[in-house]
């Protein structure tokens, strides 16, 4: 039981083009999955958090109920099954109709899967905001949509940013499950390199170092962004001399 670090380094240099291609795809899937997932989460989380309004007309009431039921099912299903199984199932199920590649199927699956987690994160974020915020917006005559977009979402995103950022870290790692549908991300590439060199421990060691590097850099960037959005604008407040 030992790792030949010298050999590992050689393999790393020799196969850098394969690894870097894998890293690019891993980052692409993680970022697209997180961003699109956040958008899906904002929509679905908002649908779940909007309270029933007694002023709604009957069809609106039915629509709201239906929307809440669909979102509930969506979250239940996508949080309750492994992403790898979802990827395999939907890839093969829809391939005859859509004729899609594993690549495009993977992008959609990771986004939809992340969206289910984001829906719950955003719902919690929205519910944690004081009801007075939306009451004030309503009292100005703003619509529910305007209130959501201008007042509630910015605060919900700010309050839940650490949890949202955590999803990016999760996606960097969990995108490896998409190798099951032939997505050439970092795990897929590493496995091919390992297979051709027959140096499994060395290659998987390299792979772990690369994942750690990606998640560490992502964490540092997220921390910097978090500091920035938490910094309240500092302005010099002149005392009122009037």
């Amino acid at each position: 039981m030992s790792i030949d670090f010298g050999r590992a380094y050689e393999i790393f240099i020799e196969n850098w083009s394969l690894f870097s291609y894998g890293i690019q795809n891993t980052l692409l899937f993680a970022i697209v999955g997180t961003v699109v997932g956040l958008i899906l989460g904002l929509i679905t989380g908002a649908l779940r958090a909007i309270p029933e309004d007694p002023m709604d007309s009957f069809p609106v009431k039915i629509l709201k109920k239906l929307a809440r039921w669909i979102v509930g099912f969506y979250v239940w299903f996508f949080r309750g099954t492994p992403m790898m199984v979802q990827a395999l199932f939907f890839f093969y199920l829809l391939r005859p109709i859509l004729g899609w590649t594993g690549f495009s199927a993977g992008l959609i699956i990771i986004s939809v899967n992340t969206g289910a987690y984001m829906a719950e994160i955003i719902r919690g974020g929205i519910q944690s905001i004081d009801a007075g915020q939306s009451e004030a917006a309503k009292s100005l005559g703003m619509t529910t949509f305007q209130t959501m977009v201008s007042i509630i979402f910015p605060q919900a995103i700010k309050n839940t940013f650490p949890t949202i950022g955590n999803q990016l870290i999760v996606n960097i790692k969990d995108s490896c499950m998409l190798n099951a549908i032939q997505v050439t991300e970092l795990y897929f590439q590493s496995s091919s390199v390992a297979g051709s060199n027959m140096k499994f421990a060395e290659v998987y060691f390299l792979e772990m170092v690369m994942y750690l590097a990606l998640t560490t850099i992502a964490t540092l960037i997220l921390n910097a962004v978090e500091r920035k959005i938490n910094k309240t604008k500092t302005v010099t407040i002149k005392e009122n001399c009037a």
Binding site: G132, S139, G141, P154, T232, V235
Partner: protein, 245 residues
């Protein structure tokens, strides 16, 4: 005198609790109406019903003759004409003071950014907060927040401004600043309905005082009538706690 808001047979209950029971009253143009009464008498609920933050169970609310519950007047249009100042200020936490005053103008009244900014600055000056325009709204003291909230409501050019216990959450030292602003607005002829526990202020500023008790209007009249010659036993009891000390 033109009636801006007319409330007819208004009813509201929360569960088994009848909070408003057959309320009738009106707010006329240029008038300052204060609503007094002990906690739980339904004052705030009445004000919140007028702005439809609470939906009445029965009765009508007419805005310049149009029933606002009929759907003939879009709810957002109605609300933009009826401003509200809250006990807990409710400034938008993600916006600066100036942005708080601009957003309604831009989103609801469709004013240009330049115009909205100009109007916002005018009203911030009116409440003495122009020097704080770029400050984050979360960084202000309670009294400052409430003055910004008043400016925010004024920016919409409301036909009537509703105040829901605007000074109840303030340090005693800050109360004066806010009341001063409201007094000036009253003098300028702004139509206002104010729920308050500041009896001296109510006496000074009101054209009409409404005393509420257990979900009904127990007594209504000029400040002289209510504060000097109250007729109803409950009104006398209530006021004695404020003035016979």
């Amino acid at each position: 005198m033109e009636t801006v808001i007319q409330v007819q047979h208004l009813k509201k209950h929360f569960g088994d609790l009848q909070v408003l029971n057959d309320i009738d009253f009106e707010i006329n143009k240029g008038e300052v109406v204060t609503i007094i009464g002990s906690s739980g008498s339904g004052k705030s609920t009445l004000l919140r019903c007028i702005n439809l933050l609470e939906i009445p169970d029965g009765g009508n609310i007419l805005y310049k003759g149009t029933d606002i519950l009929s759907g003939k007047l879009p709810l957002t249009t109605y609300r933009s004409k009826v401003g509200m100042v809250f006990q807990s200020f409710n400034l938008f936490a993600n916006k600066t003071v100036l942005e708080n005053c601009m957003i309604g103008q831009i989103k609801v009244l469709k004013r240009s950014k330049e115009e909205a900014q100009k109007i916002a600055m005018q009203h911030l000056e009116e409440v003495g907060m122009q020097n704080f325009a770029d400050a984050s709204s979360t960084r202000l003291s309670g009294g400052q927040k409430q003055r910004v909230a008043i400016a925010r409501a004024l920016c919409m050019d409301p036909e009537v401004l509703l105040f829901d216990e605007p000074t109840s959450a303030l340090d005693p030292e800050m109360v004066g600043d806010v009341l001063e602003v409201m007094q000036t607005l009253a003098k300028e002829g702004l139509t206002m309905a104010i729920v308050t526990h500041e009896m001296q202020f109510a006496k000074d500023v009101s054209d009409r005082v409404i005393f509420m008790d257990k979900g009904v209007i127990a007594e209504e009249g000029t400040p002289q009538q209510i504060f000097e010659k109250p007729q109803h036993q409950r009104t006398k009891q209530f006021l004695s706690r404020y003035f016979d000390r």
